[in-house]
């Protein structure tokens, strides 16, 4: 099995700090599907573009790093035996039907601190 990152591109993220359960219902449903069938390893929903801060050289600016119609609204990690299967899993994401898109990238390596080891 290999791991792939799936980057979700959309006009904006539905996950505002004051988002209602209805706002993120569709995302949750899809995330549950993927965790239920065992293909999802980790997932991160990002807040909307207005919350982004970018750093270039020594300048800090408001907004996403790349100026484009779509932003990375979130990303998750899936496990699949090969790219065809990974693409098939990614394609099920509802964002594809909502005018957004997805980028699938093989993961080279990863690190997640175990929760018990948080610094004081």
């Amino acid at each position: 099995m290999a791991q792939y990152a799936v980057l979700i591109y959309a006009q904006d993220s539905a996950h505002a700090s004051d988002a209602t359960p209805e706002d993120i219902e569709e995302c949750d449903r899809h995330a549950n599907e993927l965790s239920d069938d065992g293909s999802m390893v980790a997932a991160y929903a990002l807040t909307p573009r207005a919350m982004a801060t970018s750093i270039r050289r020594d300048a800090v600016t408001d907004g996403p790093f790349v100026e484009a119609k779509e932003i990375v609204a979130g990303f998750y990690v899936i496990e699949a035996p090969d790219l065809d299967v990974a693409l098939k899993i990614a394609r099920r994401n509802p964002v594809v039907r909502d005018g957004g898109g997805l980028e699938v990238r093989p993961i080279h390596s990863s690190y997640v601190r175990e929760s018990g080891q948080a610094a004081a």
Partner: protein, 455 residues
């Protein structure tokens, strides 16, 4: 060169044309790595040159080469067992019902060499012999793997220029230097495209597998597009001195035929093969003895390849009868209609316009619309065609298309608007691809220039 030596060289050359893809595809099964498979197959062909001279030609050269390449693969994997286990290997082999050297090696030979042992592993002669026999036994029983090879090389996750280079290298067996010459790019560029594609196949785990039925239409489209692209680059060179690059067109014809043999039930596969056959049947008449471009209307129809035209015609009729036609079947049908007329002015223009209409419905390409305009000038007259071309001029996709201005110039010339025709020819000339086309357009321009200034 002695006769015997010449026979061997000819036999190896023939085996290269006929068996290369099959040998590569079967060897990838052992190596699970394109790079190593390619090396082993190359070595097998070099060994054939030497060995066939000594022992005579084998009954089945393809099987001989497959066995030789696979043996080399097994030896290489054994030598590099430790190193290779750390490299990503081609995915999608889990369903393989064939012997897997990685797992089988242990049982056949015991543990391989440890890291840094530096010497040939101590393998008993018996064990080596067992291996050899097992590889040999695979020989002819290996299922045809060429489809896996084609679909992997043409995977839509690869850049198209990578698909083209990889297909020419691995499926057609064209050397990197020759691909560079055929595509008119530098050899390092081709090498880099191939390396990049191989790296993505390994890292992203693009599987070595025939796509599932649900994915087949999309995947087949990608494979057909690669073959068609290779053919069009050969049929009408996008740059350089020659109009036609025959060797590239030959490779495309070979690929189209191979895919037709492997997937005889797919109408679009047959359609592409027919399209290549029909278009290529006119190759020798597209240039005159001095190498000047000859337009379709002035070509010597008696010199067209009738056998190819007949073969294509039968395929097209059959495809049109059995299913709603796809893009390639329709393109082939149009090309075949052009070729079927005893003379240019006796072409069935209304039928051609109808076929273009059908083609536009499933493939709304401005290039198709432009070709339709040419046929329209024959049915509805040049005025109607000009209106259509002027409409197409506003299409951003088409405004840079090198044939738009040439078509417009021809129509203006028919309407006797010579000064405007000259203008259009000048713009066509500026956009022309190869030197043969430039010379042709320059001659057309002189003709209308003479007319527009002589009154």
């Amino acid at each position: 060169m002695t006769d015997a030596r010449a026979d061997v060289v000819a036999a190896v050359g023939e085996a290269h044309r006929r068996a290369w893809a099959r040998v590569v595809a079967a060897t990838v099964r052992i190596t699970r790595d394109f790079e190593l498979a390619e090396e082993c197959v190359q070595e097998a062909y070099a060994a054939a040159l030497e060995s066939w001279g000594r022992t005579g030609l084998p009954d089945n050269p393809g099987a001989w080469l497959t066995t030789a390449a696979r043996r080399r693969a097994v030896d290489a994997i054994r030598r590099d067992a430790v190193l290779r286990s750390k490299l990503p290997l081609l995915a999608g082999m889990e369903d393989a019902a064939v012997w897997d050297p990685a797992s089988d090696w242990d049982s056949a030979l015991g543990p391989g060499p440890g890291p840094g042992s530096g010497s040939e592993p101590a393998v008993g002669a018996d064990a080596r012999e067992t291996m050899r026999r097992r590889v040999e036994a695979l020989g002819d029983a290996v299922p045809d793997e060429r489809l896996r090879l084609i679909f992997t090389c043409c995977h839509p996750a690869l850049a198209q220029e990578g698909q083209v280079a990889l297909t020419l290298r691995l499926v057609c067996g064209v050397a990197t230097a020759d691909i560079a010459r055929l595509l008119l790019v530098s050899e390092p560029t081709v090498a880099a495209r191939i390396t990049r594609a191989k790296k993505k196949i390994a890292t992203a785990r693009i599987p070595y597998r025939i796509p599932a039925p649900a994915d087949l239409p999309e995947r087949l489209r990608a494979a057909l597009a690669v073959i068609y692209l290779i053919f069009t680059a050969g049929h009408t060179a996008p740059s350089g001195s020659a109009l036609v690059r025959g060797k590239l067109a030959d490779q495309a014809l070979g690929l189209a035929r191979m895919l037709r043999d492997l997937m005889p039930g797919e109408p679009e596969v047959r359609g592409l093969y027919a399209l290549v056959l029909v278009t290529d049947a006119r190759r020798v008449t597209r240039l005159d003895a001095e190498g000047r471009l000859v337009q379709l209307k002035d070509q010597d129809r008696s010199r067209w390849d009738r056998a190819a035209l007949t073969e294509a015609h039968e395929i097209i009729v059959d495809c049109l009868r059995s299913a709603p036609p796809g893009r390639y079947v329709l393109q082939a049908a149009i090309a075949s209609l052009y070729a079927a007329a005893p003379a240019y002015d006796r072409t069935d223009w209304p039928q051609i316009v109808t076929l273009y209409d059908l083609l536009l419905e499933i493939w709304p390409s401005p290039v198709v619309a432009l070709n339709r305009a040419v046929a329209l000038s024959m049915t509805a007259g040049p005025q109607a065609a000009l209106a259509e071309v002027e409409r197409l001029e506003h299409d951003a996709q088409l405004s840079a298309y090198r044939y738009l201005h040439a078509v417009k110039a021809d129509i203006l010339h028919q309407l006797d608007r010579q000064a405007e025709a000259a203008d259009a020819y000048r713009r066509a000339l500026a956009a022309a691809g190869n030197q043969a086309e430039q010379a042709f357009l320059a001659a057309q321009l002189r003709r209308v220039d003479d007319r527009s200034t002589s009154r």
